[in-house]
């Protein structure tokens, strides 16, 4: 059987699983629905891995025209294509494996699931998986909009899942409104591209644009579609929804949102640029780099500063995700295969690390009904294993060799350094600060470092910490094995991403195929694949290791300093405006999203409209 035929199954299997759970979930006992959901998710993951392996041996592109609507010569067709290249297949496999991990982790979650609906949580997770995998694999612009909306709809519902609590709803609401707007902006952009080229396939649109010079239509389409994807990626100033949603979503959902969904936005922008806009009739490289790198730097700095300021652990991790998205945008924004390869490894390792950190935070939440750094001060000394995993995650986030985060960061920052030396500094500082914030919180919670300030402002200390109910129904006495195994495995995977040379080599050649305009079109439309000759594998070098050690040392130093002394009033006042922006007001967030649209337009216009 042709491997390409497997591609639709990667998406369809979780759909079927969701259908089974939606019907059977009301009758099956809890354990059965858990097993069923893991089985379906794992099957999809296995299919993605088979397609990846098969593709890597033979032709690197796995192409399936859904419904058999293969286009004629010249690429004139009517169907939708699923196109798996090593990059998108790798991301699909990673997504599915993370879903499996999350499902296993949440076995003990929601001891009392909604009555008669014990299957609804795993069913929604499987639908989320289908949406994300489809978004990775599709080679059709409108189809990717539909998958984008599927991811969105499921994610809003999952974020608001715990309706008994008060805050999840607000986060879900902001998430839903801003993301839907992003979707509609994207659709307007798709309509413009359709009007200009009369095509919907990425490869076809790209080819049609090649034959003409860029104009205002191309610019507007680029801005609108990118804005939609950057909303999903939570790039500044589209990012406001993310901390509000991540701080409140159930922990397993956070693992997926932070670990992979947000990164899919970055993937989407990159794929869109290379396949559609990278040709002579699109957006010139300088303009695209200017846009993506500027937005990336802003995102990285805002995320880093804000994450340092948080004491609510889930919010802290959420802002750290924002910071890393900024780094990813810089990595892909310099438009070199090396930058893309580095970012790919960075994304995978970061996904593992971040999910592991959320998993550890979830354990705290379930045991102490709080994730507040000050409330938990020193109380988690009794959880040495969780603490060790958490601190290891924090170090990995700083970029400590030999974690994959370090390798990815090293390769990406070296490539970014060719565009501007200061970009390397951004990588080092931002990863040090966000990693340092995680470590600082860890020192205080798990080791009780520094003064215990919280008792002073609590009246009589009698206050029950937190309004955050544990997600397991009752507070955990013993930590279930699965809840510790999952973060351990995820960290091990992040370590392997840095150590297994085949992965680094694979990322190198995948990026070579991915970051190229013509290769994609000829593979999809003409069935010709250029071999990935001349692709440099992403590898360790001395400078990268030293910079990784530097950022780790910086991060650790910051953490110790931050844990020992309370924050200075001066920095506090300086940063107050930035904090006030995160107001929780949907009107504000929408206004910022429109401002983002304008920012993108102003950044991308010079060069696009004036080039000959």
């Amino acid at each position: 059987m042709n491997i390409a035929r497997l591609l639709p199954l990667v998406v369809v299997v979780p759909l079927l699983g969701a259908a089974v759970l939606a019907v059977g979930g009301r009758r099956l006992p809890r354990i059965a629905s858990d097993v069923v959901s893991v089985a379906f998710a794992a099957t999809s993951a296995a299919l993605a891995l088979v397609a990846l392996a098969g593709g890597a041996h033979g032709a690197p592109y796995v192409i399936d025209w859904v419904g058999g609507w293969r286009p004629g010569p010249g690429g004139e067709g009517v169907g939708i294509v699923l196109a798996g290249d090593p990059m998108s297949l790798g991301l699909t496999a990673f997504t599915s494996l993370l879903v499996v991990a999350v499902l296993v982790y949440s076995w003990r979650y929601f001891e009392e699931p909604p009555r008669r609906r014990s299957g609804s949580f795993p069913a929604l997770i499987l639908l989320f998986q289908a949406g994300m995998c489809g978004f990775c694999l599709t080679g059709d612009l409108f189809n990717s909009f539909v998958f984008f909306e599927l991811m969105g709809v499921v994610a809003y519902a999952l974020t608001g899942f715990r309706v008994e609590e008060r805050r999840p709803l607000q986060g879900a609401m902001a998430f839903g409104l801003v993301n839907s707007l992003g979707g509609y902006a994207m659709l307007l952009g798709i309509a413009l591209l359709y009007a200009r080229t009369g095509e919907l396939g990425l490869a076809q649109i790209g080819r049609q644009l090649d034959g003409r010079s860029p104009d205002a239509v191309v610019l507007a389409a680029f801005v609108l579609v990118s804005a939609g994807l950057l909303v999903k990626a939570a790039a500044v100033p589209f990012h406001f929804w993310l901390p509000d949603a991540h701080a409140v979503a159930p922990t397993p959902v956070c693992m997926l949102l932070s670990g992979v969904m947000v990164e899919l936005g970055v993937f989407g922008v990159t794929r869109l640029y290379w396949t559609v806009f990278a040709g002579p009739g699109g957006v010139p490289h300088e303009a695209a780099t200017r846009t993506l790198v500027t937005v990336g730097v802003l995102t990285a700095l805002v995320g880093a500063v804000m994450s340092w300021r948080q004491r609510h652990l889930k919010r802290l991790l959420a802002f750290s995700t924002v910071a890393h998205v900024g780094l990813f945008l810089i990595g892909v924004g310099v438009l070199s295969p090396e930058g893309t390869a580095g970012t790919a490894i960075y994304v995978l390792a970061h996904g593992g690390v971040k999910a592991a950190l959320f998993a550890c935070t979830g354990i705290l939440l379930d045991r102490y009904a709080s994730v507040d750094e000050k409330e938990l001060h020193g109380r988690a000394r009794e959880l040495p294993l969780t603490g060790a995993l958490y601190m290891l995650g924090g170090l990995a986030l700083c970029g400590m060799p030999p974690f994959g985060t370090s390798l990815g960061k090293a390769v990406a920052e070296e490539s970014a350094g060719h565009t501007g030396h200061w970009l390397t500094a951004v990588f080092v500082v931002v990863s040090a600060v966000t990693g340092g914030a995680v470590l600082r919180a860890g020192l205080r919670v798990f080791a009780g470092t520094g003064p215990r300030t919280y008792d002073d402002d609590a009246p009589g200390g009698a206050r029950v910490p937190g309004d955050e109910g544990p997600e397991t129904g009752t507070r955990l006495r013993r930590i279930p094995v699965t809840m510790l195994t999952v973060p351990a495995v995820l960290l091990a995977a992040a370590l392997a991403a840095g150590l297994v040379p085949q992965w680094a080599a694979g990322a190198g050649s995948a990026a070579h195929l991915f970051a190229a305009h013509d290769i994609y079109a000829s593979a999809v439309l003409d069935g010709q694949t250029a071999p990935a000759a001349g692709a440099a594998p992403a590898h360790w070098n001395t400078a990268g290791v030293l910079l990784g050690l530097l950022s780790t040392a910086l991060g650790a130093g910051l953490a110790v300093l931050g844990a020992r002394r309370p924050r200075g009033a001066v920095t506090e006042r300086l940063l107050a405006p930035l904090r006030r922006l995160q107001s929780g007001h949907v009107g504000d967030y929408v206004a910022w999203a429109v401002a983002g649209l304008a920012l993108l337009a102003l950044l991308a216009a010079p060069g696009t409209l004036t080039s000959p």
């Binding site: 008060r166 409104l177 307007l188 429109v594």
Partner: protein, 114 residues
């Protein structure tokens, strides 16, 4: 006339956004989101229109008749469904928000948040 449909689509998009930014009630905001979305319908169908074309349904017209673009119509259909589902989900959230916070005014909600 050649620009009017596009301009109307742009106007609806922006006026919907204005409503969202200035909304004092989340139910109203969800309504404004629906308005914003209708801009995509108008733009898509305007792009697919062909002067003098008829609907692409060959029930009682010859198969070589001049018809408008069926693809944008299919896309718009999908879009309509997406819009309805998003509206439903957001309204469900509004109901629960109101239960927990006693208000659906974004200003008050944002103050609650601190």
């Amino acid at each position: 006339m050649t620009l009017l449909p596009y301009l109307v689509a742009g106007w609806i998009f922006l006026v919907g956004l204005y409503g969202l930014v200035t909304s004092r009630n989340l139910i109203h905001a969800v309504g404004c989101l629906a308005v914003t979305q209708s801009s995509t319908y108008v733009l898509l169908l305007a792009i697919g229109y062909r002067d003098g074309g008829t609907a692409p349904v060959f029930a009682d017209i010859p198969t070589d008749a001049r018809v408008v673009d069926p693809v944008v119509q299919a896309l718009t259909l999908t879009d309509v469904v997406v819009g309805a589902t998003v509206t439903a989900l957001l309204l469900a959230l509004v109901i629960q928000l109101h239960k927990r916070h006693g208000t659906v005014d974004p200003d008050e909600l944002s103050e609650l948040k601190g």
